[in-house]
């Protein structure tokens, strides 16, 4: 395949993915918007007033970046894991496997689809948040870069999960038992400065903490973590997971007998 043909193959996967989650927007876009509205109402307005300030910001302002990031992470991940796993289960992944589309294009196409959904939901949640508070973005480039890289990272993670999953239950194990706890304990609702030194040290092993704080730094200008550390960690994880996903694809693990 020449470059034009490769680009056509990539666009085909990417557009197909966008159409897929757009067609079922009631299942993909609407639920996070409703969930986040409830978070804003309950944690931001009702409980937030009782909590007062955190790191010099109203509580609702403090949690908005974390909630946006949480939506981006879960939606990027779940888009790729559900789409690729379903293609595997129903057999239509064979449409791609018999074609000359290079493995890297297959991976990039699905990741781009995950990023498209993650960022779309992130945008919707951001718009919803504007009904509850103002947003004055301190570092726009850092904000966009962190959210984009995080979305890429979790889309790749979703792809790997889908390759290994053999049942619908297996597909949900990582999101439920690993991703959700890491996200909730990743500083979305609190600053790790509130924790004891021991739990602060433990929290530093949670990669989501770096992403949430990197994003919070971009929007509010405050962070529990050095923003450079956030970038380095996300990039290292992307390189590692991307290489692993390519290894799995090239070997045909979970795809070719």
């Amino acid at each position: 395949m020449n470059w034009r043909e490769i680009l056509t193959a990539f666009n085909t996967i990417f557009i197909k993915e966008i159409l897929r989650f757009s067609r079922i927007w009631i299942q993909t876009i609407l639920p996070p918007a409703i969930t986040m509205t409830l978070y804003f109402v309950i944690f931001g307005n009702l409980i937030g007033k009782a909590i007062g300030e955190m790191d010099g910001f109203k509580y609702i302002d403090y949690i908005v970046p974390g909630l946006i990031m949480m939506s981006v992470i879960t939606n990027s991940y779940s888009n790729v894991v559900s789409s690729f796993f379903s293609a595997k289960m129903h057999g239509h992944i064979q449409e791609l496997l018999i074609s000359p589309t290079p493995n890297i294009v297959i991976l990039l196409g699905f990741v781009a689809g995950g990023v498209a959904r993650g960022l779309s939901v992130g945008l919707v949640v951001t718009i919803v948040s504007l009904f509850f508070t103002k947003m004055d973005i301190q570092h726009p480039v850092i904000t966009i870069t962190v959210v984009l890289l995080t979305s890429i990272l979790f889309s790749i993670a979703g792809f790997i999960n889908a390759i290994y999953a053999k049942t619908f239950d297996a597909m949900n194990i990582i999101p439920i038992f690993i991703l959700t706890p890491l996200t909730y304990l990743g500083g979305v609702f609190y600053s790790i400065n509130m924790l004891s030194p021991f739990w602060q040290s433990v929290s530093l092993f949670n990669p989501v903490l770096y992403m949430v704080n990197g994003f919070r730094y971009g929007i509010l200008g405050v962070s529990d973590i050095n923003p450079s550390s956030s970038f380095i960690l996300i990039i290292v994880f992307i390189i590692a997971l991307f290489s692993f996903a390519m290894y799995l694809l090239n070997k045909g693990i979970g795809l070719r007998n």
Partner: protein, 321 residues
């Protein structure tokens, strides 16, 4: 009818498919294919037959890179599937045994997207999809979800999808399974035209009549081995008898008796005659004249392959016992 893909990097004398010492052992140690050799010439209509579990589908899936082989080499139009995988994939179109499309997608999208995976731009893919869907009587259904199609339509959808990139080698794994006779015959006509236009076709089927009518050459697999690989003509010539179907003017209430050949009634007006190849047809006609049985028409019974198939499988069973 769609013409073939461009003849890039293809020598006319090289086989469309050449398999050497192909082996496949699955993770559970099941040996599905036991070192087979197979060659299919360009332009051939080739039958790959075998009972369930003989190794046909594994062989096909290995050719199409859906299964990793354990050993051996596969060449498609002279190009190695290990070293030139992307190129060999452009030559092959696959119609798999199981329905494997997204049932929630409109059928036009399924075909156009498949074109996209081969690097065909959307506009061109749409044009080709229209041509194929019209040929296969699916154009009116193009906006419907695959879920809503009948079994026969789903089979035709898979054929259209496999042809979107104009493959030079079309592999069909039981394409007419569960399809009614009318649609089956339409599909035979379509595939014959495609073959006449230059596409090499490999067909697996359990309808031996289908293989006998369509295919020029044949390989029979059993328990992971090729137990027969010859031309259809040569294989059928091994039969010691010929089977004829005679349409009679007047109904018969019972089977007439002859010492020279065997007869059976399919129905009151249709008589089947099994005649030894050493006996003349004139002798048979003399018998009917003497018995006042008037024959309106006569044809060869076309599922003779079935007898040979069973015979070969039985022989292999005895040999491996």
């Amino acid at each position: 009818m769609l013409k073939n893909i461009s003849n890039k990097k293809i020598n006319n004398t090289t086989p469309a498919l050449k398999i050497s010492n192909l082996k496949k052992v699955y993770d559970n140690d099941f040996v599905a294919v036991k070192g087979i050799d197979l060659s299919v010439q360009q332009g051939d209509f080739f039958a790959l037959l075998g009972a369930n579990g003989a190794g046909k589908s594994t062989t096909i899936e290995t050719i199409c890179s859906l299964v990793n082989k354990t050993a051996g080499t596969i060449e498609v139009f002279g190009h190695n599937t290990d070293t030139e995988r992307a190129l060999t994939k452009t030559f092959i179109g696959l119609v798999p045994q199981e329905f494997n499309f997204n049932i929630f997608e409109p059928i036009i999208e399924i075909i156009v997207n498949q074109g996209g995976y081969y690097g065909i731009k959307r506009k061109e893919a749409f044009r080709r999809a229209e041509e194929l869907l019209k040929h296969l009587d699916l154009w009116d259904k193009r906006k419907e979800k695959a879920l809503d199609l009948s079994g026969g339509m789903k089979r035709r959808l898979m054929i259209a999808r496999a042809l979107i990139h104009k493959p030079k080698l079309l592999i069909l794994d039981e394409p007419t399974a569960g399809v009614d006779i009318e649609i089956r015959r339409t599909m035979w006509k379509f595939l014959s035209k495609l073959n006449a236009a230059g596409t090499t076709i490999i067909l697996t089927t359990h309808y031996l009549e289908e293989a006998e009518n369509l295919c020029h050459n044949i390989a029979i697999m059993d328990k992971g081995k090729v137990i027969e690989n010859t031309s259809m003509k040569q294989l059928l010539s091994r039969l010691q008898t010929e089977m004829f179907v005679l349409d009679l003017e007047n109904p018969l209430s019972e089977v007439p008796h002859s010492d020279d050949f065997i007869m059976s009634l399919r129905d009151a007006n249709t008589l089947e005659v099994e005649l030894d190849k050493s006996r003349s047809l004139n002798m048979m006609f003399d018998f009917f004249n003497q018995n006042n049985i008037r024959i309106l028409s006569m044809r060869n019974k076309s599922n003779r392959l079935e007898e040979l198939f069973i015979e070969l499988i039985e022989k292999n069973k005895e040999a491996t016992a």
